[in-house]
């Protein structure tokens, strides 16, 4: 049915070589939890128009895009070089091929950046989390990628490699437009460098979804605040699933900085989130609903970070 070739490089360099040699027909494979359903979709679509019938499956984030079969699948899921979590100077280094289950359970992550672990734990279901990778989550660049909001408020750095060399860029510069990233041709994500937040920082993460497992987010919120008591010195607020890309809500951040946070302040600042988001109507919810919950959840996530419960 297809002439796709499967290749399993033994090293990162070998993987890059394969990417360079077979570009643009080369596609990276790690966990495969987003990619394989798309191949299933392609198998069931065809020239008789049955693609329209929903016979295909796939479409994890709501839009039915059919992935064309690549010439070469480069399986980097087993490369130890890009797996694992470790601490190095003031940073956490997370390999791109680290699976969500490991990120969710990792003691170091849970201690230093729990919002990232929480986000990983909210993705898919336990079986999917045993395969899905953080690199894949970013490479797919869906608006609903749940690790993106925490990475954005942690000011994480994305590490990239290509046959031409290595580079890094802030995750804020990684997402450009809807499903479009800064990845250059033949380039792949090798890992993330996450600065370990100093003591005075506290965070929160919440994902609104239709059921408690196996559910794409309707809206997700991540917050990191530098606090002096209840006074906010620095604020970072990020949103997922409510715009073409995961993004930071600068207006909310600015409004929080310097304020002493209580329920009223949280509510007041969270209203400013509306100017940043452009949610859509889809199967999971209406744009109006998304606006309501984003605002409410931003407010209560701020309060959770400060250690105050409730917005009454």
């Amino acid at each position: 049915m297809t002439d796709t070739r499967y290749m399993r490089p033994g090293s990162l360099d070998e993987a890059l070589e394969m990417m360079g040699e077979h570009w643009p027909g080369a596609k990276l494979l790690a966990g495969g939890t987003d990619l394989i359903p798309l191949f299933r979709a392609a198998r069931y679509s065809g020239d008789s128009g049955s693609a329209d019938l929903g016979l295909q499956g796939g479409c994890k984030c709501g839009d039915c895009r059919i992935e064309p079969f690549p010439d070469v699948l480069v399986d980097v899921g087993g490369l130890d070089e890009i797996k694992g979590i470790r601490r190095s100077d003031g940073f956490l280094e997370v390999g791109a091929a680290t699976v969500m289950a490991d990120i969710a359970a990792d003691p170091l992550l849970n201690e230093t950046v729990p919002i990232l672990a929480e986000a990983a734990r909210s993705i898919g279901n336990p079986l999917v989390r045993n395969r899905a990778t953080i690199g894949g989550n970013l490479a797919t660049a869906a608006p609903c990628a749940d690790t993106a909001p925490p990475l954005l408020v942690l000011d994480a750095i994305v590490q990239l490699a290509s046959p031409e060399g290595r580079r890094e860029l802030p995750v804020a510069d990684y997402f450009l437009e809807y499903r479009t990233t800064s990845l250059r041709e033949t380039e792949m994500i090798t890992g993330l460098r996450v600065p370990i937040p100093p003591e005075r920082w506290a965070g929160g993460f919440e994902k609104v979804r239709l059921r408690k497992s196996g559910a794409i987010s309707v809206a997700s919120v991540a917050v990191m605040l530098e606090l002096d008591g209840a006074t906010c010195l620095n604020a970072r607020v990020s949103l997922g699933s409510v715009a073409p890309i995961p993004l930071r809500a600068a207006a909310v951040e600015k409004a929080l900085e310097g304020r002493r946070i209580d329920a009223g302040v949280a509510r007041e600042c969270s209203r400013l989130v509306q100017q940043h988001i452009s949610p859509i109507d889809d199967l999971r919810g209406s744009a109006e609903y998304r606006r309501w919950v984003t605002e409410a959840v931003v407010a209560r996530t701020i309060l959770k970070a400060v250690g105050i419960e409730g917005t009454d």
Binding site: G54, R211, V293, V297
Partner: protein, 798 residues
């Protein structure tokens, strides 16, 4: 005014006799099921696990339009593709249209339905089967299906049943109207009674399409055996479709055999013909075995759905809290073909007033064709839809009256001897009151909110659901029970096992009566050639029907053996108890027989091993087995539209109670506690009965909060299981099952059916709990977070 309808004579299987003492050995115990072991070791061969040598693979081409004229189908390219053995369209089907009795043998006017194998002339729903392909490999079949060229002329179609009822609406079928059928119930004068009622509530309710999501998609293998019998081994709830399939192929009925292996779930979705006809046609044409298995997307797209209903209710009560009248108008969406819509509508009509005493009743119901996916049987079969409506009416009325939901209901519950909404005087146990009290008590102390953004609420709902088929069907079931010479037992019964322990229950019943263990019993089931036909596994009828047939057969076998054993032991058979593989002589008083009547001395004792009795019977021409038939109550269809009197053999009554936490920021509803309290008459297998309560409750939870099969312009847009959401293990608490046993059911040992009743009242209990939490009744299912938040925002705005 309804005339008195004579209660139809029905056969009652006699209650347990002295020799079957209430200390049951096996009945009522938590017995591990027979089939559980095979399943847990991965040995069970489901439909898709089966292969035949030389097997081809089938695939169905389905319509891309919900409404269109079929101008031309060109199969020429597909036919020539590699590996293709057959490409069939309507013209290749010997009898493309038949009138199906849906597994019944009795012709009951108004309850047969058109079954069209392949689309012909017009397509009536998106996903309707247009052509069939059989090829050497699945990939070849998939490619060939894509190469079939179909010319469609799209037609406007109609997608709303209320629109479809209008005189100038697009005609879905070939008749002058889209209305498939209508029923009415008239008792007293509801209109007048409502006018003078002290309190009245009125509301409109809407429930959506739903999918069964059995984890095993539709599947089967067919072949022609050495005697030329077309044999179909398929995941089906109804092996008796063999008659329809024979008619479709224009072969005699005894030339089609249907075998049902263990199913991976049915829930009503495998009650109609699914793959069987396609398989029979392809096997017949190619002369090779053929396998056909649906993908999940295909299953969601093309098989039967649960009926959406629009329901207008108006209920009135007196100041003393007693109900005085109820009016209901029900409109169901029958989809592109009627299938079981008339039956489902009748169930809804009969159950429309719930388990309550209401002197004045007016119900009008309509099933209407549209170009949506066809709707048919789904666990509950029309009862859950109306239960949602009437239970919200009850809570609303209770609130107006200033009574608690429980107290208001208690003033109105039906009891034995009372008449239902259609005037059926209930003769069996009606324990709703008891179930409601227990359910609410089991909720315990109210939970405290876990944050200031949470509101806690509690609710209950009582349901009424029949077990056994419409008595118009003259339902019957047969079972054979027999001993081998070594004392092991064989049961042969056409029952289809869809996962509810249908076959295992029969083993339990036979073992109880015949004094053996469950391991001593082998059950052969689900084969039209080799097992006596037991009817469909639907309508919560199998325990009642084949259970009773098996009980009859087992007792007949025991009685024959007891006669012989009595001869050998020199006592009358009434003195004998068969247990632990031997006949034991009971002391005269224990046997309930006076010493004088038994004609023997009171001190006689002794026993005879079962094997000896069997040997003696075998040598003297006494049969070791018995084929018994059990008949349900029967009634002729008079004026089918005027629903009055008894329509079902009996009902199962029960109550769900729920406690929920509502997040007022997001509208999300979490069920914290969930109780299911039901009178099951007598639990045959305690684990199975609990399992039905637990599973049925989560079915209700899915209906309440999650499941919405969305169609738009006839197109299924929730096309896979990541968009059609069903409850995961994290979406439900531990259900607390409370089994009450009145002994007052018509099934074996006084059992009532439980498979569907347990799924009827769960949803309204949750929705009533949400109303308790936020003060708003949401009248549309599912009660999604968005609907809750929208309701809260709208109230805020006022």
């Amino acid at each position: 005014m309804a005339t008195t309808v004579e209660t139809p004579a029905h056969e009652s299987v006699s209650p347990p006799t002295g020799a079957e003492k209430p200390g049951y050995k096996i009945i009522g115990r938590p017995m591990p099921r027979h089939d559980a072991r095979d399943k847990v070791f991965g040995q069970t061969k489901y439909a898709d696990d089966f292969e035949m040598p030389g097997m081809l693979h089938g695939k169905v081409l389905r319509s891309e339009h919900a409404a269109a004229r079929l101008l031309a189908i060109d199969t020429s390219v597909a036919e020539k593709m590699p590996g293709v053995h057959a490409v069939l369209t309507a013209k290749d089907v010997p009898c493309n249209e038949t009138t199906s009795k849906f597994g019944q043998t009795h012709s009951a006017g108004g309850f047969e339905g058109l079954y069209r194998v392949l689309a012909d002339g017009k397509v009536r729903y998106m996903g309707e089967a247009v052509a069939l392909v059989a090829a050497e490999t699945l990939e070849q079949a998939e490619r060939a299906v894509r190469a079939v060229r179909v010319d469609y002329e799209p037609l406007p179609g109609v997608f709303d049943p209320i629109e479809a009822m209008k005189p100038d609406a697009y005609r879905v079928g070939e008749e002058d109207t889209n209305v498939v059928c209508t029923y009415k119930v008239r008792k007293g004068d509801a209109g007048r009674a409502l006018e003078s009622a002290d309190f009245v509530v009125e509301n409109t309710y809407h429930v959506p399409f739903g999918d069964h999501v059995y984890l095993e998609p539709e599947s089967g293998v067919a072949w022609i055996d050495e005697d030329g019998v077309i044999t179909i081994r398929a995941s089906t709830q109804v092996i008796e479709h063999f008659r329809d399939i024979a008619d479709i192929l224009k072969v005699p009925h005894n030339k089609v055999r249907v075998i049902a292996p263990m199913l991976g779930g049915g829930f009503g979705g495998k009650e109609d013909i699914t793959v069987e006809a396609y398989l029979a046609l392809l096997a017949s044409r190619t002369k090779r075995p053929v396998k056909l298995t649906y993908t999940r997307e295909e299953s969601l797209l093309a098989h039967s759905k649960r009926h959406p209903y629009f329901m207008k209710y108006k209920t009135g009560a007196r100041a003393d809290g007693t109900l005085v009248a109820m009016e209901a108008e029900l409109i169901s969406d029958a989809g592109g073909y009627a299938f079981l819509s008339p039956w489902v509508l009748l169930y809804s009509t009969v159950c429309a007033t719930g388990p309550y005493k209401i002197p004045h009743v007016k119900v009008d119901s309509y099933a209407v064709l549209t170009n949506n996916t066809f709707t048919s049987a789904y666990r509950g079969f029309g009862a859950p839809q109306v239960c949602f409506a009437y239970e919200l009416q009850m809570d609303e009325l209770a609130a107006k009256l200033g009574l608690s939901p429980l107290e208001f209901r208690r003033r109105n519950y039906l009891h034995t001897g009372d008449e239902t909404g259609t005037g059926h005087a209930l003769q069996t146990a009606v324990w709703t009151d008891e179930t409601a009290q227990q359910a609410l008590t089991a909720l315990g102390e109210p939970s405290r909110p876990r944050s200031s953004r949470e509101r806690i609420g509690r609710g209950l709902a009582s349901g009424m659901q029949s077990y056994g088929r419409l008595i118009y069907m003259h339902d019957s079931s047969r079972s054979f029970v027999g001993f081998e010479l070594d004392g092991t037992v064989v049961v042969r019964c056409g029952v289809q096992d869809i996962g509810g322990g249908q076959a295992s229950s029969l083993a339990q019943i036979a073992a109880e009566v015949l004094g053996v263990t469950m391991d001593d019993v082998t059950v052969y089931f689900g084969d039209t050639a080799l097992t006596p036909l037991a009817g469909t596994t639907t309508a919560t009828r199998q325990l009642y029907m084949s259970g009773n047939a098996t009980l009859k057969a087992a007792r007949a076998v025991r009685d024959e053996l007891a006669k012989k054993a009595g001869e050998i032991l020199g006592v009358s058979p009434e003195r004998l108890e068969l247990r632990d593989k031997a006949f034991h002589v009971l002391p005269a008083d224990e046997a309930g027989v006076g010493a004088a009547a038994s004609g023997e001395g009171a001190s006689q004792s002794g026993q005879l091993p079962l094997r000896d009795a069997l040997k003696a019977c075998a040598s003297s021409g006494v049969p070791l087995g018995n084929l018994a038939q059990f008949n349900a109550p029967a009634r002729e269809v008079g004026d089918v539209q005027n629903v009055e009197g008894q329509i079902f053999p009996d009902f199962t009554f029960g109550t769900h109670a729920a406690e929920v936490a509502v997040d007022v920021d997001t509208g999300q509803v979490e069920v914290l506690k969930f109780v299911a309290s039901f009178d099951v008459g007598q639990a045959i297998n305690q684990l199975s009965a609990e399992g039905q309560l637990e599973g049925g409750s989560v079915c209700g939870l899915g209906y309440a909060l999650l499941e919405d099969l969305k169609l738009s312009g006839g197109k299924t847009i929730t096309s896979a299981l990541d968009t059609y959401l069903v409850p995961t293990s994290m979406d439900t608490p531990d259900v607390v099952p409370i089994l009450l046993e009145s002994g007052g059911g018509l099934g074996p040992f006084g059992a009532k059916g439980i498979g569907e009743p347990s799924s009827t009242s769960g949803a309204p209990a949750i929705v009533n709990a949400v109303a308790d939490a936020i003060g708003i009744w949401i009248t549309e299912l599912p009660v999604t977070a968005e609907r809750v938040l929208r309701a809260l925002k709208e109230r805020e705005a006022k």
